[in-house]
C-alpha cells in the first residue's frame, strides 16, 4: 500500500482535528431525560479501535435499568402519541438540523469510537443520519397519506437493538420512523460503540424533546435480551447477526410484539462480460471495502463472467494496491480499523479456514499499524461454493471471487445462500439488469453501482437476512398498528 511503497502518489498526513469533539471521562445511561448510573453500578470501557486508547467509561445497563427505561418510555407514550403529527414533525426537524450543525463533531466522534475512516463518517454516515431524520420528520403529519388507512396508530414502546458498524446511522434508522409514527423508544447501542448514541441524547435535549420519548441504554447482549423480553415492549427492532435474530424470533414467539429484523448477508456482485470494467472495479471495491467490509449488505462474493475474469482481477488488484490503510482520522484514509479485537479474531479465523480449505489468498503489500485492530484488504480466488469463505458472512475486508459462464449460472450461484439482503449487477444491457434482478432473491439490487443508501428507499432482506423494511414509505409500517 501507499504507506510502504514510495510512489508518485505519496500523501502527506492530513489528520482531521480531534478538538471538535469533547468526550467526557464517563457517561451514564440516558433514561427519562436524565443521565443516570446503572442500578448495579457496573461500567465498561469503550476504546478507539485504531489505537486501543480508552475513550470513556460507560454505565452498563442491566435488567433493572431496562425496566426503568421501558417504564419511562411508557409514561411518555401517552402524551407523545397524542401530539398532533405536525408538532412531532417539528421536533424531528429540529433533531435533523442539530445533527447537521454538529455533523463534524459527530463524524469525528464516530470515527474515534468505531474506527472507520473520517471520509466515510463525514461524507456518508452523518449526511445520511440527518437526511433520515429530515425524511421521517416530514411523514409525521402525513401518515394519513402513507397507504396504511386513515390515522394509523403507533404501537407503543419500541425496544431497539443496534450494531456497531454504523452506530449513529442505525440509531437514525430506528428512532426516526419510530418517533414520527408516535412511538417512544428504548435503544441499546452496541457495547463497542456507545458514544454517538449518548451524544444523540444530548441532541434530543437541545431539541427540547419531551423526557422519556428517547431512552438510551448502553450495554451488552444481556441488556438487549432483557429489552426484547420485557413484557411492556410492543415492538422489537433489531439489526445484527442472523444468529441473534433467530434467538429474538424465538424469544418473542407467542407474544403480541411486532418484530423487524435486519440481519446478515452474503451479497453477490455479478459482473457480466459487457460491463464497464473500471466502473465495475470501483463498485466491487466500495462493495466489500467500504467500512472495512463490516456491512451487512456488503458485496462479499464477486461473481465474474469467466471470459473477463483475468482482466477484471488484474484491474482489481491494481486498484487494491492504491488503497490507503491507516489512521481513520486522516482524510486520505480508505481503510480504517476493524471495530474490535473480537471481530478481528473472527475475520482472522475465517480467513485461515479459507486458506486451509484450499482457496488462494491475496493481499496487496500492506503495512499494518502496530497498535489497534487491523486487517489488510484480502481477496480469495479459486473459491468454490462449498468453501466457508463463500458461505459464511465474514463481516470484514475479505472478498471471495467465483466465476460463471451463463446468466442462469450467475443467478443460481448468487441465490445459493441462506441470506438475501443485497446484490449487484454490472452490465451495459438494461434488459439483462432487469431480467437478472427479477430472479435474484434479495431485498436490494444495485445495478452498475453498489452500497447506495437513501432515506426514501426501503432496505431489508429476503430469507435469513431478516424481515421488514427500513427506510421509505415502507419503513413506516414497522412502527404502525396496521392489523
Amino acid at each position: 500500500m501507499a504507506s510502504t511503497t514510495a510512489s508518485a502518489f505519496e500523501y502527506a498526513p492530513a489528520p482531521e482535528s480531534r478538538s471538535v469533539v469533547d468526550i467526557a471521562p464517563s457517561y451514564g445511561l440516558f433514561i427519562d431525560g436524565e443521565f443516570t448510573e446503572a442500578a448495579e453500578g457496573k461500567v465498561f470501557k469503550t476504546v478507539s479501535p485504531s489505537t486501543e486508547e480508552v475513550l470513556s467509561e460507560i454505565a452498563q445497563a442491566g435488567e433493572a435499568d431496562v425496566d426503568r427505561a421501558v417504564r419511562a418510555a411508557r409514561k411518555a407514550f401517552g402524551k407523545w402519541s397524542a401530539l398532533p403529527g405536525s408538532e412531532r414533525a417539528k421536533y424531528l426537524f429540529r433533531i435533523a438540523r442539530i445533527i447537521q450543525e454538529r455533523s463534524r463533531e459527530l463524524a469525528v466522534l464516530e470515527t474515534l469510537d468505531n474506527g472507520k475512516p473520517i471520509k466515510e463518517t463525514r461524507d456518508a454516515d452523518l449526511p445520511l443520519v440527518a437526511a433520515h431524520f429530515f425524511y421521517y420528520a416530514g411523514w409525521a403529519d402525513k401518515l394519513d397519506h402513507a397507504g396504511f388507512g386513515a390515522s394509523p396508530r403507533p404501537l407503543g414502546v419500541a425496544g431497539q437493538v443496534i450494531p456497531w458498524n454504523f452506530p449513529l446511522l442505525m440509531l437514525a434508522w430506528k428512532i426516526a420512523p419510530a418517533l414520527a409514527t408516535g412511538n417512544t423508544v428504548v435503544l441499546k447501542p452496541a457495547e463497542t460503540t456507545p458514544l454517538s448514541a449518548l451524544f444523540f441524547a444530548d441532541v434530543c435535549r437541545q431539541a427540547g424533546l419531551p423526557k422519556g420519548v428517547v431512552n438510551i441504554l448502553p450495554g451488552y447482549g444481556d441488556a438487549g435480551a432483557a429489552l426484547v423480553a420485557h413484557p411492556d415492549v410492543n415492538k422489537v427492532a433489531f439489526t445484527g447477526s442472523t444468529a441473534v435474530g433467530k434467538a429474538i424470533a424465538r424469544q418473542v414467539a407467542g407474544s403480541h410484539k411486532k418484530v423487524t429484523l435486519e440481519l446478515g448477508g452474503k451479497g453477490a456482485n455479478i459482473v457480466f462480460d459487457d460491463a464497464p470494467i473500471d466502473q465495475a472495479v470501483e463498485g466491487i471495491v466500495s462493495g466489500i471495502f467500504f467500512n472495512q467490509g463490516q456491512v451487512c449488505c456488503a458485496g462479499s462474493r464477486l461473481l465474474v463472467q469467466e471470459s473477463i475474469q483475468d482482466e477484471l482481477l488484474e484491474s482489481l488488484k491494481r486498484r487494491l494496491a492504491t488503497l490507503r490503510l491507516g489512521d481513520p482520522l486522516d482524510k486520505n484514509t480508505d481503510i480504517g480499523a476493524i471495530n474490535s479485537a473480537e471481530q478481528l479474531s473472527r475475520i482472522t479465523s475465517l480467513v485461515e479456514q479459507g486458506e486451509a480449505e484450499g482457496a488462494e489468498r491475496w493481499s496487496p503489500a500492506c503495512e499494518l499499524p502496530t497498535s489497534g485492530y487491523w486487517f489488510a484488504p484480502t481477496l480469495f480466488t479459486n473459491v468454490t461454493q462449498a468453501h466457508t469463505v463463500a458461505r459464511d458472512e465474514i463481516f470484514g475486508p475479505v472478498l471471495s471471487v467465483l466465476s460463471f459462464r451463463t446468466p442462469e449460472e450467475a443467478v443460481a450461484k448468487a441465490n445459493n445462500t441462506p441470506y438475501g439482503l443485497s446484490a449487484g449487477i454490472w452490465t451495459e444491457k438494461g434488459s439483462r439488469i432487469l431480467a437478472v434482478a427479477s430472479k435474484l432473491r434479495a431485498g436490494v439490487i444495485w445495478s452498475n453501482t453498489f452500497n447506495k443508501f437513501d432515506p426514501t428507499s426501503p432496505f431489508g432482506g429476503y430469507k435469513e437476512s431478516g424481515f421488514g423494511r427500513e427506510g421509505g414509505r415502507h419503513g413506516l409500517e414497522a412502527y404502525l398498528d396496521v392489523r
Binding site: 426537524f93 425524511y135 416530514g138 402525513k142 397519506h145 446468466p407 444491457k429 434488459s431 439483462r432 426514501t456
Partner: protein, 304 residues
Amino acid sequence: MSDKTDKTDQQQRLSVFKTYKLYVGGKFPRSESGRVYEVTDAKGKWLANAPQSSRKDARDAVVAARKAFGGWSGATAYNRGQILYRVAEMLEGRKGQFVHEVAEAEGLSKSKAADQVEATIDRWVWYAGWTDKIAQVVGGGNPVAGPYFNLSSPEPTGVVAVLAPQESSFLGLVSVLAPVITTGNTAIVIASERSPLPALSLGEVLATSDVPGGVVNVLSGRTAEIAAPLASHQDVNAIDLAGADDVLAKELEIAAADNLKRVLRPQPVDDWSAAPGTDRMTAFLETKTVWHPTGSLGASGSSY
C-alpha cells in the same frame, strides 16, 4: 405602517417606512410602469403604496420563472425540502413583522393574526416534508402484462401562474404557493389586490432562504390586469385561479385554453387553516411512464 412613531425616552422618534417592491428573478424591482396604488388597512387608513404591475412586469416574471425552472425542477427532492424548510425557519424569525402586517391587512386582533402566521409557518413545514414523498404516494410501478419494467413518476408541469386568494393575505397565499413549488414548478404569484403587503414581504423572506431567484415571483397590482397576460401567455403551463371571481375565472380559463394550460378553478375555502390534502400538488404534476424490456435469461443471457 401604523406605528409611525416609537417612543424613546421623552422625544418621539420618526420611524422609517418601507418601500414595498415586486420580487422578480430574485431581485426587487419597482413596476416598470412606474405606477403604484394605495394600500389601506381594514378601516381604510393608508398603509403603503404598492407597485401596480403591468403586462410587461408579468411577462418579465414569466421569463424569470422559466429560467429558474431547470435548476429548481432538477434539484433533488431532498434539496428542495431543505430549502422550503429554511423558509419556515426564516419566517419564524420574522414572525412579529408578519403578525403586524396580517393584523393590519385583514383587520385581525394581534392574537388572531399570530394564529394565521403560525399556521402559515407550519404550512411551509408541511410542504417541505412533501418534496421527497409525493412521488411515493402518487407514483409507482405498474404490473403490465408483458416482460416490461413500467414505472410512473410525477414531474412538475412547469411555470405556474397563481392568483392568490383575495381574503387570506398570508395563510391563503402560502397555501396556494407552497404546493406549486414543492414539486419543482416555478411560480408567478399575484398578491391579494387589497392586501398585498404580506406577499411582498414574503419575497424578502424567500430571497434569504436559499430559494433560487425566479422560483417564486411576486407581483402586486390589479389582479385582472396582471392575470390576463399570464393566462394567455404561451410559456406559462398552468394557472391557479384561487383569487379570481367567477367572471374573471371563466375569462381566464378561456384564455388559458389556447395552449391547454392546466387550470385549477377557484374553490370555496372556508378555513385556510384546515389541513390540506395533496390535490394542490397533484393539480400541477404530470405523470411520466417509462417502459423498459425486462428480457429473459436465455442461453446467451438475454433474448435480445
